[in-house]
Amino acid sequence: MARYSVFSLLGNALSGNRNWERVWRSPEPKPAYDVIIIGGGGHGLATAYYMARNHGITNVAVLEKGWLGGGNIGRNTTIVRSNYMLPGNAYFYEHSMKLWEGLSQDLNYNVMFSQRGVLNLAHTPSQMDAYARRGNAMRLHGIDAELLDRDQVAKYAPGIDMSAKTRFPVAGGLLQPRAGTARHDAVAWGFAYGADRQGVDLIENCEVTGFLRENGAITGVETSRGVIRAGKVGVAVAGNTSVVLQKAGLNNLPIESHVLQAFVSESLKPLIDGVVTYGAGHLYISQSDKGSLVFGGDIDGYNSYAQRGNLPIVKHVAAAAVTLFPNLARLRLLRSWGGIMDMSMDGSPIICKGPMPGLYINAGWCYGGFKATPASGWCFAHTIANDAPHEYNAAFTLERFAQGRVIDERGAGPRPELH
């Protein structure tokens, strides 16, 4: 189909917008594919896209139980950053950042990646030291980072209560200028558009209900739309990882599913430019291009598969917001929702071959998988295509827990609800 551009917009406008084609086809599932990706979220779609783009494998299907992009990719607070400290994570997320920087052009779909910066606030000298350690580590990994003092914070995010009277006065912060946000839906649709144009079948309303197995190897899936065979099956179902892999006989994973809520306000003229995170209050907040403040906080803190949360977190997040920005108290919450997160035992992801041949696992994203979407697809495609991990996901194994080689940015230990 014609590439998108201002000219295609003009052309179509003149013909009453009657000639636009589907952004992705709606094919019937074929009996068999070389590769099946379960999960039509960001990671599944990105995997299919890079599978075709980087490895020339196009006989691929993405199976989505609902509508494309209806999972966490469609309900997250869209923060993209690579401010990681530990080597196991840093190179992977920075690779993702570099992919983000060219993603709209690469996909010919505007994912609205906007590098307005992400600022993490610190409240005590020791928190400043911890951020300095992180920031210096970032610099030593070739990632941009700046340590801000109080004045620089006030300048970066006007409206923050810089007074000494507030409960947790601001001491400074760590800023990643290249970080920012992207339009969540556009990321899903852009990867879908890109994958579809390379021949990938995107199959919606197709729930995987079981796995085909021949002498120990996974050879396909049973779905609500029939049996589909495959040479290889990759699982990228985020919060549903345990449920799906149980069907493959894996009853036990280093993952808990938790609900994380998110919130948007009524839309306003520009008030907050970048993304601000308020550690003392478990709050991250930014303003969408539409003008709504988009914010979130901590997970509700109990296992859940319901895409909704409860009042304690709602109230705590609001309290944090009006404490950090006292000018927001009269602002109104427009909508709140939840998503199911695959919380891993060290807060870091898993991208690896599964325990049986033909099965590949992509999970454990916690709060952080949106920013990972391009690199996750890139590395998962590589792992599936080559039956070996890419250097950037080499550390994201299942074995690391048994080995004691956890990648624990928070130092919280095997307490998923704390990561």
Partner: protein, 93 residues
């Protein structure tokens, strides 16, 4: 969400902290294998539906409870006290 503490009665979830899934017993250090420990410390059943889990009534009686809850509807089947006082408190459904 209201958790029916057998001692205090139904209380808002905000008074409690979530522990972990209660399905697995801590392995016996004398006999357990590294796999047993790995399984207990890092691995979870994480079911969609009925889930037996530990909760601590930290802002109440400070008892540890074993709560049976549905992870989709969040409906709680029952809660019982864990430990030496279990026999004397019974359970609350």
């Amino acid at each position: 969400m209201l958790i029916p503490c057998p001692h205090c009665g139904p209380r808002d979830v905000g008074e409690f902290t979530y522990g972990r899934e209660a399905g697995k017993a801590r392995p016996d250090p004398a006999s357990a294998s590294p796999e047993d420990w790995n399984d207990y410390v890092f691995y979870r059943d994480n079911p969609r539906g009925r889930h037996v889990e530990y909760w601590h009534h930290g802002q109440g009686c400070r008892l540890w409870l074993k709560v049976t809850r549905d992870t989709v509807s969040h409906r709680i089947e029952g809660a019982e006290v864990v430990g030496p006082w279990a026999a004397r408190t019974g359970s609350d459904a």
